[in-house]
């Protein structure tokens, strides 16, 4: 009995160690490729877009995929994050200010998330979608009108550039780990039960508003981080970048990857970035092809690429191990 327990815990540590090792190796390889100069500027931009989109998609997946609350306003929180970090780093140009900027961005986005979430999350389905869309548009129009701080329609330029591969990778991985752990916690389970059946979960004592707002606020928090990273990487932002098409882009990643699958969101974010960078040479036809692809995927695979399944490294390793053992015996 005690023996099996120790092997269980040791296999748990082993799993974590393997995951950590793989993460470090990925980081090391990309960092190496960047410093040698094999990954040119163009690929680095694509890489940054992938990381930012992963943060956005994973955080929206928590709201839409796991909690079942249909939000079309993610770009609004991203805008708040981007402008907060940009204004802070433009006023105090230092690495410390960048870190403070990121956390201020996240916290401010989360606060707006609470303010927006409490009234609107009483709504359901399409009504919630259209209300969040409207709120994101209002945020954008407010940014457009406060041109003393935000530069209005001209946008905000020459933002100090601090975001690099290390920061992007660190925040992307932490976002995924935190949201994954949240989903596996009892809080996350409550969120999933809300998605499955609101009335049933309410009748077993789950406070609907509390968990919906919680998921929404966590989503907003990470969208704020993504916005801050975006502003600091591309050193130029304008309100039009955060219009409702951006929210839709994020939603497309989530649905394409599979609602309720974090690895699906990651996969879809990478896939879409690759497709769009490959289609860059087609100019106007690019969006037509993109639209047709989207249409075909939705018609033939409406549940998304991964459905609700997760890809897990240790599972694959375990499968190999068991097949080894089977063949050995």
């Amino acid at each position: 009995m005690s023996l099996s327990k120790t092997t269980l815990t040791s296999s748990k540590y082993y799993k974590k160690l393997v995951n950590l090792l793989v993460l470090l190796v990925i980081y090391g390889i990309v960092q190496l490729l960047i410093s040698i100069g094999i990954l040119g500027d163009y690929y680095q931009v694509t890489l940054a877009m992938i990381c930012i989109n992963i943060i956005l998609a994973v955080s929206l997946n928590l709201v839409t995929g796991f909690t079942g609350q249909f939000s079309l306003g993610h770009a609004g929180f991203m805008a708040i994050g981007a402008y907060t970090c940009a204004i802070i780093t433009k006023s105090y140009d230092s690495p410390v200010a960048f870190i403070i900027g990121i956390f201020a961005a996240a916290v401010l986005a989360a606060i707006v998330g609470v303010l927006v979430g409490i009234p609107t999350l009483r709504l359901k389905g399409d009504y919630l979608a259209i209300a969040t869309l409207g709120l994101a548009e209002i945020i954008r129009i407010l940014i457009l009108n406060f041109d003393d701080f935000t530069g209005g329609a001209r946008g905000l330029g020459s933002i100090p550039q601090y975001t690099n591969w290390t920061w992007l990778y660190l925040f992307t991985i932490s976002t995924i780990i935190i949201i994954k752990n949240f989903i596996d916690s009892s809080l996350g389970r409550a969120c999933i039960s809300i998605r499955e059946d609101e009335i049933a979960s309410e009748s077993v004592g789950i406070n609907l508003t509390k968990y919906k707002v919680l998921a929404f606020v966590i989503g907003a928090f990470f969208a704020g981080i993504a916005g801050a990273l975006y502003a600091s990487y591309f050193y130029y932002i304008k309100p039009d970048l955060f219009n409702f098409m951006k929210s839709i882009d994020i939603l497309v990643i989530v649905v394409l990857g599979g609602m309720g699958s974090l690895s699906g969101s990651i996969l879809a974010a990478i896939l879409l970035a690759l497709i769009s960078s490959y289609l860059q040479s087609f100019a106007e036809l690019r969006m037509v092809i993109y639209a047709i692809l989207l249409l075909l995927i939705m018609i033939f695979r409406p549940q998304g690429l991964m459905g609700t399944k997760e890809f897990s490294l240790s599972k694959i390793l375990r499968k190999k191990q068991t097949s080894h053992e089977n063949s050995a015996s």
Partner: protein, 293 residues
């Protein structure tokens, strides 16, 4: 006072256009519970078809209006058959993403074919203006917007309340399964709904062309959203609601850009929407439905 009346007239013209688009949204939503994001782009296509008819075939306003309505109706049916029908059993979010894909497809194919440039709409109506009051001007474009909107509303009311198709539509929107059991071919009825809604959007497209004189491939995005807001405002699925919602949004928006800042005019529609949703989520004319287990 004269300025207020003038703004009111401008607001009513814009509102009539929103109302025509909102009707299509509300009918489609009422029958298959889908936010048809491509609806705003059908309105854009309507404007382009009108442009081609008037500029290249030298047609008058009314023939162009009829042709653009017919083409939009056909387009609506084709879109429904190709894109939405296979997804009837899928989740609503998958259907929504499909609608967005159709919308992108229409926008960027138009951009690919016709170019991204803003085009000036050809003059088709003679420039006649009326001055009913001191300082108030109504032009012929506004009068034709009112006339076309009123006629189409009457026709729509007739179709929905007096014909067999209309009766079937109402049946399908109140209970699809029961309607099917009564021998109604729901697929056909859904196609008819798309056709009628798209025809109204096409009419709105050509009206906006003659009213604002410019068209571009992305013109359908924002009016489409605002028309949806109008539909929700009036109570989605309810035809008179879409009319009231559209006109309210149009008038309020014009008043805000006339008396306050025009930069805030796009925010107003959404602010109204959020207020309505928080106070009376079922919309102005909507009925509260109790949730059952």
């Amino acid at each position: 006072m004269a300025e207020f009346v003038q703004q009111l007239i401008n607001g009513l013209s814009l509102g009539s256009i929103y109302a025509l688009i909102a009707l299509g949204y509300t009918m489609v939503y009422g029958i298959i519970k889908l936010i048809n994001f491509a609806h705003g782009d059908i309105y854009m296509i309507g404007a382009y078809v009108g442009y081609i008819c008037i500029k290249h075939f030298n047609m008058g306003f009314f023939p162009a209006l009829i042709i653009s309505m017919v083409i939009c109706a056909l387009l609506g049916i084709i879109i429904e058959k190709i894109a939405y029908k296979p997804l009837r059993k899928a989740t609503r979010i998958a259907a929504l993403i499909t609608a967005i894909a159709v919308s992108l497809f229409l926008e960027y194919s138009t951009m690919f074919i016709a170019g991204a440039t803003v085009r000036t709409y050809p003059q088709t109506l003679e420039n006649i203006t009326f001055k009913p009051l001191e300082g108030v001007i109504i032009n012929i474009q506004q009068i034709s917007i009112f006339a076309v909107t009123i006629i189409l509303m009457i026709v729509l009311q007739f179709i929905v309340h007096k014909t067999k198709i209309g009766k079937a539509m109402r049946a399908v929107s109140s209970d699809k399964d029961a309607a099917q059991l009564m021998g109604i071919n729901t697929d056909n009825i859904i196609s008819y709904t798309f056709a009628i809604g798209s025809a109204l959007a096409g009419a709105a497209g050509i009206l906006v062309g003659i009213y604002y004189n410019t068209i571009n491939p992305l013109m359908g995005m924002l009016p489409g959203l605002k028309a949806f807001v109008a539909a929700v405002f009036g109570g989605i699925g309810i035809i008179p609601g879409a009319l009231i919602g559209g006109i309210t949004i149009g008038v309020v928006e014009t008043m805000v850009s006339g008396y306050a800042s025009s930069l805030y005019k796009d925010a107003v529609a959404f602010a109204i929407l959020i207020l309505v949703l928080l106070i009376k989520p079922s919309g102005l004319l909507g009925k509260n439905t109790r949730e059952k287990v």
